[in-house]
């Protein structure tokens, strides 16, 4: 009773917001004390066989009740459990006198460590799948029975734990849970993929302190602002519920474009498109166009570096959807923390200030050329704007423009229609922001996450400097205001398309800095529109 309001920050692995009560899931790995007296090797072998059989049965049943993605993820675990290359060495250890539990645990831990140490983040995130099967078999080895009574009967629960495993996620009764917050996690692992596919709000890398919060206390899980509000007061709760209901109203179509604020300013709200499938659920009438299509993510689903035709068809489809509204497509922005590893071979992509964005494209002309050809051909079919990521100096824009001209010339010689699209740049580096007048471009987009990170000389991966990880720091805001003023004075559009734009906490500040265009994920569209109208009315 009388809990004090606290706010915990994490990283969003899936977007959305929900209100619920804490369900604190304790680690259920049993302690070694419960292990029964060691039996002879044959008995130990049988113990392990039975435990694996039971785990296989569990997973087989769970696959039947899971959707396609869930089933695929569990299929991997099932194959691992049935792989003699995994189990034979364990049985060999048992025959040498080791217990079933120790052999299983040691071997699985060895594999888990091996994946944790992998240089590729996507391979790292597979460690989780091994932890999942390790724990499931261990539970049977240690004869732990999970009683159904352990699961609470409440509704609207927020799952809070150190970590969550794929099979655990799939076993949860999702009619009773409305979100997850965990201490560990990775945006790349299978649980995060599942949460995104099912649109379940999911915060990862939360502070450990969330594990000692009181169960059943109300919380607001606000993934769009990457925070968990514990024991919110009535005012916070009411404000949240109001914005929730406003966004539902607008989802019902009551809010139409253009979005005019209470004091009469017109704000253009664009959408971010990462996956063309999201266009099925939204009409171009509901936005001003596409403010940011991250081309590297558009093809992520097919898992393959797309050829010119594939790219051309996708870009054309996007332009066709938008009609005469503008469509801004950003060229491949692989590198940094963006999960497109391997696409460009072995070049150093691990650093957020290294080989990424336009730097990577200009040094891989074969890949860039294909994309430029596809874009120039698609430009014939609509209002295409091409956005160049991670620009630092004006020569990068000039080199890009030159390549466009060359490819358009070639295409025309091949009797293919092509057009020069509008060319714009992401303002993400301090160098670009400071020298903004030196760039000959048609429009600007502010990548607020990277810009804030570079200005504050810190990144979200760095711990102990959280106090500097503030996108609303006056230094960041001053730079954004300067960009907005320069763009305004020179009649060029500037759009904010980072997380800042869909943060309803920061949006009013951005509007006050003179920002007139924002681009947000489709899921946040209604909420952001509601926030624009709502906030300005209260001024």
């Amino acid at each position: 009773m009388g809990q004090k309001k606290q706010i915990f920050y994490g990283k969003a692995a899936s977007s959305g917001q929900s209100i619920g009560a804490i369900d604190l899931i304790q680690k259920r790995l049993p302690s070694s004390r419960h292990i029964r007296k060691k039996n002879a090797p044959p008995v130990q072998e049988t113990l392990l066989e039975n435990a694996i059989d039971q785990a296989v049965n569990d997973l087989t049943q769970l696959i039947q009740t899971s959707d396609k993605l869930g089933a695929q993820i569990l299929q991997l675990q099932l194959l691992l459990l049935k792989d003699p290359e995994l189990t034979n060495p364990i049985y060999a250890q048992i025959r040498q006198g080791e217990s079933a539990t120790t052999s299983w645990e040691n071997t699985l831990n060895f594999h888990i460590e091996d994946y944790v140490r992998a240089s590729d983040k996507l391979f790292q995130s597979r460690a989780n799948d091994f932890v999942d099967i390790r724990n499931r078999v261990l539970r049977y080895l240690k004869q732990e029975v999970r009683s159904p009574a352990e699961q609470s009967n409440e509704n609207n629960l927020i799952f809070i734990a150190e970590d969550i495993m794929p099979s655990q996620f799939l076993e949860l009764d999702w009619s009773r849970y409305v979100g997850i917050a965990i201490v560990k996690g990775s945006v790349f692992n299978h649980v995060s993929m599942l949460a995104r596919a099912r649109q379940i709000p999911f915060l990862i890398r939360m502070p450990k302190r969330i594990l000692s919060l009181s169960a059943q206390t109300p919380v607001i899980l606000d993934c769009d602002n990457e925070k968990l509000i514990y024991a919110p007061d009535h005012k916070t709760l009411r404000k949240f519920e109001r914005s929730f209901s406003l966004s539902q109203q607008s989802e019902n179509g009551t809010l139409l474009n253009p979005v005019v604020t209470g004091n009469g300013r017109q704000i253009s709200v664009f959408i971010n498109v990462d996956d063309l499938r999201c266009l099925d659920d939204i009409s171009p009438e509901n936005c001003e166009g596409v403010g940011l299509a991250r081309s590297e993510l558009m093809f992520f689903q097919t898992n393959v570096l797309p050829n010119e035709e594939t790219q051309f068809r996708a870009y054309k489809k996007l332009l066709g959807w938008a009609g005469d509204k503008p469509v801004t497509i950003r060229t491949f922005d692989a590198g940094g923390d963006k999960g497109l590893f391997g696409l460009f071979g072995d070049q150093d992509q691990s650093s957020s200030s290294g080989m990424r964005g336009i730097r990577l494209l200009l040094s891989n002309p074969d890949i860039f050329r294909v994309q430029i050809r596809a874009l120039a051909r698609a430009a014939v079919f609509g209002n295409l704007k091409v956005l160049i990521p991670m620009v630092t100096i004006s020569q990068e824009i000039e080199a890009t423009r030159k390549q466009f001209f060359e490819e358009i010339e070639r295409l025309r010689n091949e009797n293919k229609d092509a057009r020069m699209p509008a060319l714009g740049m992401m303002v993400e580096t301090p160098a670009a922001a400071i020298m903004i007048e030196s760039f000959d471009v048609d429009f600007f987009a502010i990548g607020s996450n990277d810009l804030a990170q570079f200005i504050m000389a810190t990144s979200r991966d760095c711990h102990n400097v959280e106090y500097l990880q503030d996108p609303a720091n006056p230094a960041v805001l001053k730079v954004i205001r300067d960009i907005a003023e320069y763009a305004d004075a020179n009649n060029k559009q500037v759009c904010i398309c980072g997380e800042m734009a869909s943060s309803t906490d920061l949006l009013p500040t951005l509007l006050n800095l003179g920002i007139k265009n924002v681009s947000v994920p489709t899921m946040a569209l209604a909420r952001v529109k509601a926030a624009i109208i709502h906030e300005q009315m209260s001024v």
Binding site: E85, F123, F300, N303, V304, P306, G342
Partner: protein, 91 residues
Amino acid sequence: MNFEDSVLIRHSLGLHARPSIKFTSLAKKFSSDIRIKKGDQSHWVNAKSIIKVMGLKIPSGKELQIQADGIDADNAVKSLIDLVLNNFDEE
């Protein structure tokens, strides 16, 4: 009968979970012993084992070498190469 060939992994995620599952399931359809290795390494592993194949952690752009020994070795290597060339049937 012994047969060997190599192919470049173009799948943007590399030889990851789903590609590895497809690769091992296809390999299991042949009676030959099939081994694979990462182009620049000397460590061969069983191509029918998911833990071994995924465990190679081959990223995109790396060469995969396939070797088969048995009655259907020729066909096995060709089919596995085709699977990789077709990007594991994912597009």
